[in-house]
C-alpha cells in the first residue's frame, strides 16, 4: 500500500491511544489526590501527571507551579500542548480525514462522531468535578475505535499499521507511567502494607485497568514488585509491555516479510527481553534503568518503522 496511507493510519491509531492514556493518567492522578497523600504534597502528584504525558519545562513556562486546575487544563483542552487530549484527538481525526476513502465507512464515521462529541466538552469549562466523566468518555471512545477497526477492517496491511500504531504508543505509555510512579512511590516503600501505600499502588493498577487482574492473579497485598511484574512481564495483561510486543512482533514479521530490515531485529530484541526476562534480574539492575532503556528502544523502533515503511524511501 501507499506509504502515505499507512502513515496516516498508523498515526491515527497512535493519537487515539495517546488520548486514552492521557485520560487514564489524569483520572488516576485525580483519584489519588482525593486520598491523604503520602508526601503530603499535591503538587508532586500533578507534576508527575505532566511528566508522564508531556514536557514539564514547557508546562512551567506557560503555567508556573502545577496544581489540579492548571494541569487538568494543560492535559485536556490546551491546544498549544501537542500532547493534550484535544491535540491528540484533533490529530487523529485529521489523519483519518486524509485517508477516509481508504478506511471503512464505520471507522471514519466513528472518528468523526468522536470529534463532534468532543466539541460539546470544549464548549463548557471542564471542572475538576467533571474530570472523571470526561476521562471515562475518552476511554470509551478509544475502546469503540479499536472495536470498529477490529470489527470492520479487512485484515490487510492497513489493519496491520493501525494495530502497530496502537501498541507502539501503548507500550511507551505504560512504561512511562510505571517509571514515574515508581520513582514517586518508592520513598514510601518502607511503610509497606499501610493504607496510603495500598491506595496509591491500587491507583496505578486502576489507571491501566489492572486492579481486578492483580487481585485475581495474586490475591494478596499490593506489592510494588508484583505490580511491576504485572505491567512489564505478564503477557496476559493487555496493557503490559510484554503483551504489547506480543502484538507488535507478528505484525512486523508480516509487513517486513520480503525485506531485510532493522525493524525486525529491533522488535525481536525487545520482545525477547520481555519474553524471557525475570523480574528479579530486572530489579537487580534497577527497574528505573530497565524502563528508561525500554522507552528509548521502543522510540528507536518507532523511528525505524517510520523510515522503512511510512515515509520517503528515495
Amino acid at each position: 500500500m501507499l506509504s502515505r496511507t499507512a502513515d496516516h493510519l498508523y498515526w491515527m491509531a497512535r493519537y487515539i491511544e495517546r488520548a486514552e492514556n492521557a485520560a487514564r493518567v489524569l483520572d488516576v492522578t485525580y483519584n489519588m489526590s482525593l486520598v491523604p497523600s503520602a508526601t503530603g504534597n499535591d503538587a508532586d502528584l500533578w507534576q508527575a501527571a505532566v511528566e508522564i504525558t508531556s514536557n514539564i519545562e514547557a508546562f512551567e513556562r506557560d503555567y508556573g507551579k502545577p496544581n489540579a486546575k492548571n494541569v487538568i487544563q494543560y492535559l485536556t483542552m490546551d491546544s498549544n500542548n501537542p500532547s493534550s487530549i484535544y491535540s491528540a484527538l484533533r490529530s487523529a481525526r485529521e489523519n483519518a480525514r486524509a485517508v477516509r476513502v481508504t478506511m471503512t465507512t464505520e471507522t471514519w464515521e466513528n472518528i468523526n462522531a468522536l470529534w463532534l462529541e468532543f466539541d460539546q466538552f470544549l464548549r463548557k469549562d471542564l471542572t475538576v468535578e467533571g474530570l472523571s466523566e470526561f476521562c471515562d468518555w475518552v476511554k470509551s471512545r478509544s475502546h469503540l475505535f479499536r472495536g470498529v477497526c477490529f470489527g470492520t477492517m479487512l485484515r490487510d496491511e492497513a489493519f496491520s499499521f493501525v494495530r502497530l500504531g496502537t501498541f507502539i504508543e501503548r507500550a511507551d505509555n505504560t512504561a512511562r507511567l510505571l517509571n514515574i510512579k515508581y520513582d514517586f512511590l518508592m520513598p514510601v516503600q518502607h511503610q509497606m502494607g499501610g493504607t496510603v501505600d495500598y491506595y496509591e499502588w491500587s491507583a496505578v493498577l486502576r489507571s491501566v485497568s489492572a486492579f481486578q487482574a492483580y487481585q485475581k492473579i495474586y490475591s494478596d497485598a499490593i506489592d510494588p514488585v508484583r505490580v511491576s511484574e504485572l505491567l512489564v512481564l505478564r503477557h496476559d495483561m493487555p496493557r503490559s509491555l510484554h503483551a504489547c510486543y506480543d502484538e507488535i512482533m507478528p505484525i512486523i514479521e508480516q509487513v517486513a516479510a520480503n525485506r531485510q530490515s532493522e525493524t525486525k531485529r529491533l522488535a525481536g530484541e525487545l520482545h525477547a527481553k520481555l519474553h524471557y526476562g525475570k523480574m528479579q534480574d530486572i530489579f537487580q539492575h534497577g527497574l528505573h534503568e530497565f524502563l528508561e532503556s525500554f522507552i528509548h528502544s521502543n522510540h528507536v523502533l518507532g523511528e525505524e518503522i517510520q523510515r522503512s515503511f511510512l515515509s520517503a524511501t528515495v
Binding site: L2, A6, F161, F309
Partner: protein, 510 residues
C-alpha cells in the same frame, strides 16, 4: 453576421406555459402531447403524487450524503462540502438520437486528437492555412511537447463533450473538455440511485447500461502504456482531499482498483516514476492525472506547485511514463480553437461534421467586436480561458450595470473573449419547489480513446434549477439528472398489467 436560429428575449417570458412554448421540451412536443419515447414515462408520472417524488428525492440525498458524493465549492465560506442537487426525473434519449450523437462526438474527438498530434509535430493544418499560427501563442500550447511522441498518438484519452439541444433535430457542441473533465462519477452514481428508487421503470424501458465505464477506462489506460510493459501499473493522481472533485477521484480509483496517489507519493529516478509504498518503491507506468498541466512538475511549470512531481515531465518526454490526458491538450479545447473544429474534421478525416458548432464571434476581430458590443444584451460572452461558468456574461439575464461593467472588461482585452448567441436550450421536466416544471439541460458524454475510441451510452446531464437560468454548472448551483439512452425506443408492457396477470395465475394455481 446573422444566425439562422432562434434568439430568445428572456424578459418577455412571464409564465411557465410561455417557457414551454418558447423552448423545445424533451418530454412534450407540444403542451400536453408527450414525445413518443416519453409516453410511458408520462403515464407513470401522472399516477405518482408529487410528494412521493419529493420523498424519493429526499431518500436519494440521504444516501448520497452517506456515500460522500459531495462537491467542494470554491470561494464558499460556509459549505466546504456540498451535495449537487439530484433530480429524480430522468432525461431520455432515443436510440436513434444516440446513434447520431455518439457518432458525432467520436468523430470530433478523433479529429481533436489528430489536431493535437499535428500541432506538436508537422503543423500541417497551419501550413495549409486552415488554422492560424496564432493558435501556437495560446498559453495552453506547451512548446515542451513539440516533437514528443505519445503512445498511439492519443492526447485526450478522456474527453467530455458538452452538448445542447435547441429543437427536435438540432444539437450543438458547446465545448470540448480535453484537460481533466469531471462529472462521470455522477453519471454512474445517478444511475445506481435511479435503479434503486424506480426499479419498475427500468423494467419498462430498456435503458443502456453505463456501469462498465470504469472498466473501459482502465482497459484504455492500460493500453496506452509504453510498449514493452507487460502488466502496466496505473494510478490516479489527485491534488488531494481539498480539491473540488476529490470524491470523484477517490470513487474512480476505487472502481478501477488502482491507487489514488498525490504528488508527494511519487518520485522520479533513472528516467522512471515510482510510488512510495510500504513495500518499497514501485514503478508506475500510466498516470491518470486529475491535476492541471501547470501543477504537474515544479521544475518545468509553476515552481511553487506542491501538487506535482519534480522531474515528471522529463521522464514523460523520454517515454518513461504515460500521462492521461497528455500535457498540452488545453491548446485544443479552448474557446478560440473551438471555432476551427469543423474544419479540422474535414482536414484530418475528410468527413463532414456530424455535430455542429455554436456560431461564435471572435472579439479579436474588429467587425465581430463592434457587433458584440452593440448586441451585448442578446449574447453570451465567455472568457477564452474560462471554465466552470466563471467569468461569463449571459446578456439577456444581466442588469444594465452588469452589462456596462462587462463592456469595460471586454474593451480592456478583447482577444480574451468570444461571444455566442443565447441558445434556446431545451428543457426537461424537473422537480422543483413549486412542483414539476421545465428547466434547461445540457449533456456531457464521456469519450474514451485508447486503442479504439468509444463512448459509454449516457453522460452527465446537468440542469439549471433556477427558473429561466441557462447556466448549468454545478459551481453555479446547477443540478444533475440521470440520462437514459434507450436501447429500443418502444417500451415493455406496463407493470400494472403484468402484476394483475401474475396474480390471476397464482389464484388459478391455488
Amino acid at each position: 453576421m446573422q444566425f439562422a436560429f432562434n434568439l430568445i428575449n428572456y424578459r418577455k417570458i412571464k409564465s411557465m406555459s410561455d417557457t414551454v412554448d418558447k423552448f423545445f421540451d424533451e418530454m412534450q412536443a407540444k403542451v400536453g402531447d408527450a414525445r413518443a419515447i416519453y409516453k410511458a414515462y408520462q403515464r407513470w408520472l401522472k399516477n405518482v403524487p408529487t410528494h412521493q417524488l419529493a420523498a424519493k428525492r429526499a431518500e436519494a440525498e440521504l444516501l448520497f450524503r452517506r456515500v460522500g458524493i459531495t462537491f467542494n465549492v470554491y470561494g464558499d465560506a460556509d459549505g466546504a462540502e456540498r451535495l449537487i442537487p439530484f433530480d429524480v426525473i430522468p432525461r431520455l434519449i432515443s436510440s436513434k438520437e444516440w446513434a447520431h450523437l455518439s457518432a458525432g462526438v467520436i468523430q470530433r474527438v478523433r479529429a481533436l486528437n489528430m489536431f493535437l498530434h499535428d500541432i506538436y509535430h508537422k503543423q500541417e493544418i497551419i501550413q495549409a492555412g486552415i488554422v492560424p499560427y496564432t493558435i501556437l501563442s495560446n498559453p495552453q500550447y506547451r512548446p515542451e511537447m513539440f516533437g514528443v511522441d505519445v503512445p498511439n498518438q492519443i492526447y485526450a484519452h478522456i474527453a467530455g463533450v458538452d452538448l445542447v439541444r435547441t429543437s427536435e433535430s438540432q444539437f450543438y457542441v458547446l465545448e470540448d473538455n480535453l484537460r481533466t473533465p469531471s462529472g462521470v462519477s455522477y453519471m454512474l452514481e445517478n444511475r445506481k440511485m435511479m435503479m434503486r428508487l424506480f426499479p419498475d421503470l427500468f423494467r419498462q424501458y430498456s435503458v443502456a447500461p453505463v456501469e462498465h465505464y470504469p472498466q473501459v477506462l482502465l482497459n484504455n489506460l492500460r493500453s496506452v502504456a509504453q510498449s514493452g510493459v507487460q502488466d502496466p501499473t496505473v494510478v490516479l493522481l489527485s491534488p488531494g482531499a481539498y480539491n473540488s472533485a476529490y470524491f470523484e477521484h477517490a470513487f474512480l480509483a476505487q472502481q478501477m482498483g488502482i491507487e489514488l496517489v498525490e504528488g508527494q507519493d511519487l518520485f522520479v529516478r533513472n528516467n522512471a516514476v515510482y510510488m512510495r509504498t510500504t513495500q518499497g518503491p514501485r514503478r508506475v507506468d500510466v498516470i491518470y492525472r486529475r491535476i492541471d498541466d501547470d501543477f504537474l512538475d515544479p521544475l518545468v511549470f509553476k515552481p511553487d506547485s506542491m501538487l506535482g512531481v519534480p522531474g515528471l515531465l522529463s521522464v514523460y518526454r523520454n517515454g518513461g511514463v504515460t500521462l492521461a490526458n497528455a500535457v498540452g491538450t488545453g491548446a485544443a479545447d479552448d474557446k478560440a480553437t473551438y471555432i476551427y473544429v469543423p474544419q479540422m474534421i474535414k482536414f484530418y478525416l475528410g468527413e463532414e461534421p456530424i455535430l455542429q458548432n455554436v456560431p461564435t464571434y471572435e472579439l479579436s476581430k474588429e467587425d465581430d467586436l463592434a457587433y458584440v458590443l452593440d448586441h451585448l444584451d442578446e449574447l453570451v460572452v465567455k472568457e477564452v480561458q474560462g471554465s466552470g461558468g466563471y467569468g461569463m456574461l449571459v446578456g439577456p439575464a444581466a442588469t444594465k450595470q452588469e452589462l456596462a461593467e462587462f463592456k469595460l472588461r471586454i474593451l480592456s482585452k478583447p482577444s480574451s473573449y468570444i461571444a455566442q448567441p443565447t441558445l434556446a436550450l431545451s428543457t426537461c421536466p424537473t422537480l422543483v419547489e413549486q412542483g414539476i416544471a421545465p428547466r434547461h439541460v445540457d449533456l456531457r458524454p464521456f469519450v474514451l480513446s485508447g486503442k479504439t475510441v468509444s463512448v459509454v451510452p449516457g453522460g452527465l446531464c446537468r440542469v439549471a434549477l433556477k427558473e429561466g437560468s441557462l447556466v448549468v454548472n454545478s459551481s453555479q448551483g446547477g443540478g444533475t439528472k440521470d440520462t437514459w439512452v434507450l436501447e429500443r425506443d418502444d417500451t415493455a408492457a406496463e407493470k400494472p398489467t403484468n402484476t394483475s396477470q401474475a396474480i390471476k395465475k397464482e389464484e388459478v394455481a391455488c
